[in-house]
Symmetry: C2
Subunit: 354 residues, 2 copies
């Protein structure tokens, strides 16, 4: 009686980052884009024939794959699509990380990697970032079951360049290497081109940040046919239809509207550099960011207190109570007006003891 309870999966519930739905907040805690999606994508939504939703979407979402393939100069067979890049990376873990050797990723990185390892029972090791929060490439040259890291890394915001990625790949010809480029469109180096040279390289991306479509759930991967065909087989053994018809329709127009994409990512980069300069003037250390957020600390102030102070003032940023980064905050780049409010409230915090 009730023996079924013994066979329930034992797993620590993963707690997603706080997503307050409170109104009138300055929401700089989830790396969302402050600008709306492309007007052409919005037009595609308004023009969508809603009656057609009675039909299943394309099982392989080919029209959106074609748009992405053209954008990146690869073939349709090199493109994989999923329900957000978390879905894509989770499927890639299952598709590629089947060795008994541990996979490798940095100690400070995207918090979902160890969660997937636990879910799929994949052994892992987490070499420490060096004291500048950079990946030490020598930690990634031994035998391993695979490698995954975000580039730019999160929450550090630091991006490595082509030389680093090539060295990583040259040192690891026996493992699949996943480069998670969720944040690459804000001035980072993209290794998509290297997928033509390195058959064991998978690059993942998302429409949630630079394309302002977090609400829609579109993730993708680009890699060799050898990798993408296995990803497709695993996906088709899990869920045939992961990308819905509206995501396909809006995604295509987003990819095709490069002018809007370039304009909004440039605005975010400008605001980021302005914020960095202003925070440095207030005594903060701000890491060089290639993302839509900054990672910052202050030698004289407690960042957890600042996080809570700002929250009480309805300015939401992100604080991680984790070793090595427990006096840092991650701040998403908002509009210029949001940035004005942020800086003003940070000034209030710095001056509150005086």
């Amino acid at each position: 009686m009730n023996e079924w309870k013994n066979n329930l999966r034992k797993i620590k519930p993963y707690v997603p980052g706080e997503q307050s739905k409170e109104k009138n907040i300055v929401k700089l805690n989830a790396n969302e884009n402050p600008y709306p999606p492309s007007p052409k994508a919005i037009e595609a939504l308004k023009a969508f024939n809603a009656e057609s939703l009675r039909l299943y979407p394309h099982a392989d979402a080919t029209p959106l794959k074609a748009a992405i393939a053209e954008y990146y100069g690869v073939e349709i067979e090199n493109v994989f699509l999923g329900n957000g890049s978390d879905d894509v990376i989770a499927l890639a873990f299952q598709a590629f990380f089947n060795s008994e050797k541990p996979i490798l990723f940095p100690d400070i990185t995207y918090s979902f990697y160890p969660v997937w390892c636990e879910l799929f029972k994949i052994p892992f090791k987490t070499p420490a970032l060096n004291k500048d929060f950079r990946i030490n490439i020598d930690d990634y040259s031994g035998e391993n079951g695979g490698i995954v890291f975000p580039n730019p890394n999160a929450p550090t915001s630091i991006c490595e360049g082509e030389e680093f990625i090539r060295k990583m790949l040259d040192n690891n010809t026996d493992s699949v290497v996943i480069v998670d480029e969720a944040y690459v469109d804000f001035g980072g180096y993209s290794s998509v081109k290297l997928t033509k040279e390195y058959e064991n390289l998978l690059v993942t991306g998302t429409f949630s940040k630079s394309r302002s479509l977090a609400g829609l759930r579109i993730g993708f991967a680009i890699g060799s046919r050898a990798l993408v065909s296995v990803l497709e087989a695993v996906k088709n053994s899990y869920n045939s239809y992961t990308v819905d018809a509206l995501s396909i329709a809006m995604g295509i127009e987003s990819v095709n509207d490069d002018e809007y994409f370039k304009a909004t990512t440039a605005k975010i980069i400008n605001t980021r550099e302005r914020l960095k300069t202003e925070l440095e003037a207030l005594g903060f250390e701000v890491l060089n960011s290639s993302t839509n957020f900054i990672f910052a600390t202050h030698k004289k102030y407690n960042m957890k207190e600042m996080f809570e102070f700002l929250k009480a003032r309805k300015v939401f940023i992100r604080y991680f109570n984790l070793p090595r980064i427990d006096n840092y905050v991650r701040i998403t780049i908002g509009t210029d007006i949001e940035t004005d409010i942020l800086i003003s409230e940070i000034n209030n915090f710095l001056n509150k003891g005086e």
Copy 2:
């Protein structure tokens, strides 16, 4: 060199049912609804603030859960949501089927069950349906790692009632029992109410059939808090945001528009009974259906040939080249006009030799 290829997941690619995008076909092969989604759901799409797509959706899709909970008379904590019911069932397999004993499902049933077992390495046994294509309940009373079956079953279209489900549950107090009710809204018996009595019962459903929203991908499950909390933990270890913002908005209006739902499901049931009567008059045997499709055979004709004949005439139905059912066809219920064309072409097939 290239040792990474050894660690790729070896898996037979699952081939989804044919989804021709040809125009001007009578498409009766994917169990799609011939009627559009609720006008209120379409209105919700048109009224949707597309700019808000820059933000992540509710991580737990609470507003849609609330609508479903109210509809079924359960609490929000008893409702689970996913990216189509395939996503829901795949997560449930991972959450509940962790015994070393085999899980049980019928030999003739939804073709994804053995695929998930292979993907998640779950042992399974498939007791044969009896000669009337009914589940023999005595096959499900020994030790097992869990039970899953569709009710109504697919592709047989047959639904079992409350007595059968209670017996199944009373015989299996040590396993989780998943009843997959994808097709229940077309006159079947729903065991949702039994989830209040049986803590080990999970009932799954979908918006793809009776709610005409296959293009959107909304699946759900209803069960005890004990089951739903583990499902949530597994889901949150896989992908935080599986249900997008547009699905939440349209799904709510669909659930709330019960008048339209009742009217369209009643129309489909009427057309189904008419089709059954007309096919029987032509000498077909048609199983009693509680779904939006029928499962039929003819003693004097080859059903594979009929399937191919109809396909050449642009009427798409479904044929399964599988043991025991290789002289049956599955025909989705379309509009009355589509049914006229179907019957006319079936007449052409039956008379072609004369």
